[in-house]
Each structure stands twice: as structure tokens, then as C-alpha cells.
């Protein structure tokens, strides 16, 4: 069959390429097994949206699954940075430890210190407020701003 020739129905494409896309998601991108189906579904829905401008469906689908997997890990990375202690975040897949180190190294000293107090030493916003001799609201604001900066840097690095 010539993949570059006539367009297929999406059902037939799905049947044909599901195994290939699943293998790429699992084998190359270590996507959790429970996420693979969602990712592939997203790829096929996107394919339906753009299929008018596609001249090689198979290659497009491979590009799509790589895009979906990278998006998944990017989102996980951002969520982790937001919610998890630094030590745990740094142990995540895809060399996120290197990414976190790079991000932390590029943060201003004040932001790095706030994140360390909150995520490494485990201090609450109230405890940080006491430590810095400031209000709770301002401490929360500092944590929020520092995280925002870190997320921005992480996105750029990723």
C-alpha cells in the first residue's frame, strides 16, 4: 500500500497505525500505559481537523504522536514544578532533574531561596512569613511569583 497516495478513512488509519503509535509512545517517550490511548485519540482528532493539508498520513501521525507525548511530559513537568517538592520533581522522567537544576540556576537568588524554603525545607507560607518577618499574603505572593518565574524558565528550556 502506498501511504502517500489516496487518503484513508480515519477508522482504517486508526486500525492500521494504532500499534505503531502506541509503540512510539511507550518505547520512545515512556508514556504511562493508561495515557497512551488518550494521546493517540488526541492525535487522530487533530488529524481529522487538519487532514485537508496532509500529504502523508502515516508520517503526520508519527509527528503527531511525538508532539502529543512531548506535550504530555511538558504539562507534567509544569504541574510537578508547581506542586511537588524539588527533590521529587527532580527524579521525574526525561532528565527533569537536569531541567530543574538549570531552571533553579537561572532563577534570581531571592526566588531560589523562597522555593528552597517552601519545597526543600518544607516551610509553609505562614512559616516563611515569620522567617522573613513579613505578612502571610506577601509570603504567598513571593512563592507564587517565584514559581511563575520557574515555570516560565522551564517552558523555555523544555
Amino acid at each position: 500500500m502506498d501511504e502517500n497516495a489516496a487518503p484513508h478513512g480515519v477508522g482504517a488509519l486508526y486500525q492500521e497505525y494504532y500499534p505503531l503509535l502506541a509503540k512510539i509512545a511507550l518505547g520512545r517517550f515512556s508514556l504511562p500505559r493508561e495515557e497512551v490511548e488518550n494521546a493517540i485519540h488526541d492525535v487522530f482528532v487533530s488529524f481529522l481537523r487538519t487532514s485537508g493539508s496532509v500529504d502523508n498520513p502515516r508520517a503526520w501521525l508519527v509527528g503527531g504522536i511525538c508532539n502529543a507525548c512531548r506535550d504530555y511530559w511538558r504539562a507534567i513537568g509544569n504541574r510537578r514544578l508547581e506542586t511537588l517538592p524539588v527533590a521529587e520533581a527532580t527524579s521525574a522522567a526525561f532528565d527533569r532533574n537536569i531541567l530543574c537544576d538549570q531552571v533553579l540556576a537561572r532563577l534570581p537568588e531571592s526566588s531560589r531561596a523562597i522555593l528552597a524554603l517552601h519545597y526543600v525545607q518544607g516551610l509553609t507560607a505562614g512559616e516563611i512569613a515569620q522567617e522573613l518577618n513579613t505578612s502571610l499574603a506577601y509570603a504567598e505572593q513571593l512563592i507564587h511569583r517565584s514559581l511563575k518565574r520557574a515555570r516560565l524558565l522551564a517552558r523555555r528550556r523544555a
Binding site: E37, L48, A68
Partner: protein, 437 residues
């Protein structure tokens, strides 16, 4: 192939993955294979996918919902056809009211059908094409659909179509804003990289028109990488062509020509007639002064291709290139006749700048034949055409030429000197014209 920071070249991961699964399906398996022999980095990517090739596949979901969706979209697109025909027969100010009351247009498939009409309409009636893209945007804002991501995609696509039409109309700043609108919408959708690359490709073309050439190169490189990753040969080749065109505009003729020559066999094998025609024209323009006979061969092919496609403005430009070949090879009477027709044709389309430049080329031919009085009149006419939109330094240069022609001291070499100055002057407003030594 992409280049890393260390200057090494690698295939995109997606190309390697395709190769790992089925080497025969790669665009150029021999090239991939020989690269893999030398590159451990790429070999390890192929290895990871090869290792799981034999693992049992996951259970897959039912495809019924996707098939239903595809069928529904296709039905809606077909149903919208007659409604669009009726719509286009009415003046644009009535379109929003008609569209909102016609259920065939207020569906995702209907929006897609309207979007599909825009590229053709743009060629003949760009203002109406612009209105049509606005209509899609406004319908998207009011449409409550069962598939919001499809409406969001149609909305983003409408912004992109608007941007392309604005570029065709020469409204470049507005085109950039519209592209930003498209990008902001596409980026929110899952698996959006391919659509985003389409926006970057268009942005590069607008920036080229605005002479922001470094920026244009940055965006076209980004787009090309994504097109290649998604295995879309047609768009990859088009992006390469645009990169060559940007380099040509930057005056890097050798680098541009290298890209065009590399693309030629690939494009001639493809069915992308539009880009092939543009490529012939560009190869011809690269060679006009250095290899005029070769330029003539390419430009004749470009003329034929543009005639077949019905691209009038491109056809005029290819003919202009041919006329310059006639000048370069001493066929002045032939050049003068061709240029006279072109000057009027550009003026009829409101392209006064081009008409003015064509007139200067005609003056060169007339001076070569010692027809100084006619050359003086042509220089005067050129000056009038250019006065409206050209910067002061350009006007000064053409005034100098006109006076020289009137005094009988103008030569073909002086015309070429003025033309070369005119290529640089708009980008350097402080540049002052100096006569040749």
C-alpha cells in the same frame, strides 16, 4: 536534517522512528541508513523503538466515534456547498445575517467548507476573501458546537486565512497581527505543532516583505523543522523555497541559488506546480546578470507554468525577468517592446512602483539604441510613477537620471547604476545617491 548546537547534523526523531518501523517508508532510506552508520545518537533513537517493536500492542478503543465524527463533518461540508454559492452571490454586508440564519453554514463542517473557498477567492477578489474570513471568525464566536476544539481550530484557521489575504493586499502589519491571533488560538489546542508551523511559515513570508530578513529566516527554519518532522514533503520543500527567497532578497544570491538548485529535481518530481513555477522564476532571476542564457531557459519555463496556473502577477514578473535577459544579451528592440507592454500591465493593476522600475529598464534599452529623446520621456514617466511611494533618496537618483537623459549624457550603465542604488536605498533612508565615478 537538523543541525545541533555543536554543528552536527541529525535526522528529526520522527524520521528515524518511521525508519525503525519500516525502512522502506522513509523518504530517503539510503541516506538515513548511511547516517545511522556514523551517528551513535541517531542510532540509539532507532534502537529504542526497535526494542519495543515486538512488544504486545495495547488494547485499542473503538473507532466508531472517530468514524462518526468524520462522516458527520463530511456530510456537513457537502451540505454547505450550495449555501456558500448562494452566499457569495450576495454583497458581503449581507453575509453575517444570511449565514446566521442558514443552519447548513452554522456547523463545523460548514465552517470548514467556507474556509476552503477562501484561497481561490483570494486570487481574484481578495477584499471579499477577507470579508469571508471575518465571517468565519464571527460565526465561530457565536457557534455552540458539540466539538469545541473543531470550532476553535476553524477560528484559528480563519485568522490565518485573514493574515494570508492581508499579505496579498500588501497590508503587512495587519497580517502580522492576524498571524498572532491565529497562533494564540492554535497553541491552545492539543497536538498543535503542525498548525503552528503553518503560521510560522506565513509569518516568515510577511517578514520577508517587511525586509525583516533575519527574523524571517528564524521563523522559516522553525517551520521547516516541524514540516519535516511531520513528514510533509510538500510543505518542507515550500519552506526551503521560501528560505531561498529570503536569502535572495538579502542579496545572498549564491546561497539562494544553491537552495533553489537543490530543490529543482525534488520539485520537478512532485505535483506541486505552483512552487515549481516559482522556482523556475527564482532560478531565472538568480542567473539574469551572470548566466543570461540559462536564465532565459528557466524564465521561459516559468512563463509557461504561470500561464497554465493563471497567476497573472507572477507571469508579469517572469516576463520582466525575460526582458532583462534580452537587455543583457543585446536584444534591445525585443526588450523594449516587452517592457512597454509590462509597464502598462503593472500600472493597470495599480503596481506603480513596478511600472516605474520597468520604465527604467526600458530607458536602458532605448539608450543602448541611441534613442535618447524617447529615453528622456520614459525617465520622466518613471519618475512620476515612483514619486508617490518611493523614499526621497530614490527620487533624487531618478531625477539625476532624468536630467542626464535630457542633457544627452545618460548611458545604459548609468541606468544600471541607478537601479542598483534603488535596490539598496529603501532599506537605508540615509544613503545618498552618488553618480558613478
Amino acid at each position: 536534517m537538523r543541525e545541533t548546537d555543536e554543528g552536527r547534523k541529525h535526522f528529526p526523531e520522527e524520521v528515524l522512528l518511521l525508519f525503525a518501523v519500516d525502512p522502506g517508508s522513509s523518504e530517503d532510506p539510503i541516506e538515513v541508513e548511511s547516517h545511522l552508520r556514523e551517528c551513535p545518537e541517531c542510532r540509539s533513537i532507532v534502537g529504542t523503538i526497535s526494542a519495543v517493536r515486538s512488544s504486545p500492542p495495547l488494547p485499542r478503543m473503538e473507532t466508531t466515534s472517530l468514524e462518526d465524527l468524520e462522516l458527520r463533518l463530511s456530510d456537513q461540508t457537502v451540505e454547505a456547498g450550495p449555501a456558500i454559492e448562494q452566499l457569495l452571490q450576495r454583497p458581503p454586508e449581507h453575509w453575517p445575517e444570511i449565514a446566521r440564519s442558514d443552519s447548513r453554514l452554522c456547523t463545523v463542517g460548514g465552517l470548514r467548507a467556507v474556509l476552503q473557498v477562501i484561497p481561490d477567492l483570494r486570487r481574484s477578489e481578495p477584499e471579499r476573501a477577507l470579508e469571508l474570513s471575518r465571517l468565519v471568525s464571527s460565526l465561530c464566536e457565536s457557534l455552540i458546537a458539540e466539538n469545541p476544539s473543531f470550532v476553535a481550530h476553524a477560528h484559528a484557521s480563519a485568522w490565518k486565512e485573514r493574515a494570508i489575504t492581508l499579505r496579498i493586499l500588501g497590508r503587512f502589519e495587519e497580517s502580522i497581527s492576524a498571524l498572532n491571533g491565529a497562533e494564540n488560538r492554535f497553541v491552545k489546542l492539543p497536538v498543535a505543532e503542525f498548525d503552528l508551523a503553518g503560521v510560522w511559515y506565513q509569518r516568515a513570508m510577511v517578514l520577508r516583505e517587511l525586509d525583516q530578513l533575519d527574523e524571517a529566516l528564524r521563523w522559516i527554519d522553525r517551520a521547516e523543522v516541524v514540516f519535516e518532522r511531520f513528514g510533509q514533503t510538500r510543505m518542507t520543500n515550500r519552506a526551503r523555497y521560501v528560505r531561498g527567497a529570503i536569502l535572495f532578497r538579502r542579496g545572498e544570491i549564491d546561497r539562494a541559488e544553491e537552495i533553489f538548485r537543490d530543490l529543482l529535481p525534488r520539485l520537478e518530481r512532485s505535483d506541486d506546480e505552483q512552487t515549481v513555477a516559482l522556482l523556475y522564476n527564482s532560478l531565472g532571476q538568480c542567473a539574469v546578470e551572470r548566466h543570461p542564457l540559462e536564465a532565459e531557459l528557466f524564465l521561459v519555463r516559468a512563463v509557461r507554468a504561470f500561464e497554465a496556473l493563471g497567476y497573472e502577477l507572477d507571469l508579469l514578473r517572469a516576463r520582466w525577468g525575460l526582458a532583462r535577459v534580452f537587455l543583457a544579451t543585446g536584444r534591445n528592440p525585443q526588450a523594449i517592446t516587452t517592457l512597454e507592454g509590462l509597464e502598462h500591465a503593472f500600472a493597470r493593476r495599480g503596481a506603480e512602483d513596478d511600472a516605474g522600475l520597468v520604465a527604467l529598464d526600458r530607458a536602458e534599452g532605448l539608450l543602448a539604441l541611441d534613442r535618447a529623446a524617447e529615453a528622456t520621456a520614459v525617465c520622466r514617466a518613471a519618475l512620476e510613477r515612483l514619486r508617490g511611494s518611493s523614499p526621497r533618496n530614490v527620487i533624487h537618483a531618478v531625477e539625476f537620471l532624468r536630467d542626464a537623459a535630457a542633457q544627452g549624457t545618460a548611458t545604459p550603465a548609468l541606468v544600471r547604476h541607478v537601479r542598483r542604488f534603488m535596490e539598496k536605498a529603501p532599506k537605508q533612508p540615509a544613503l545618498i545617491f552618488a553618480p558613478p565615478a
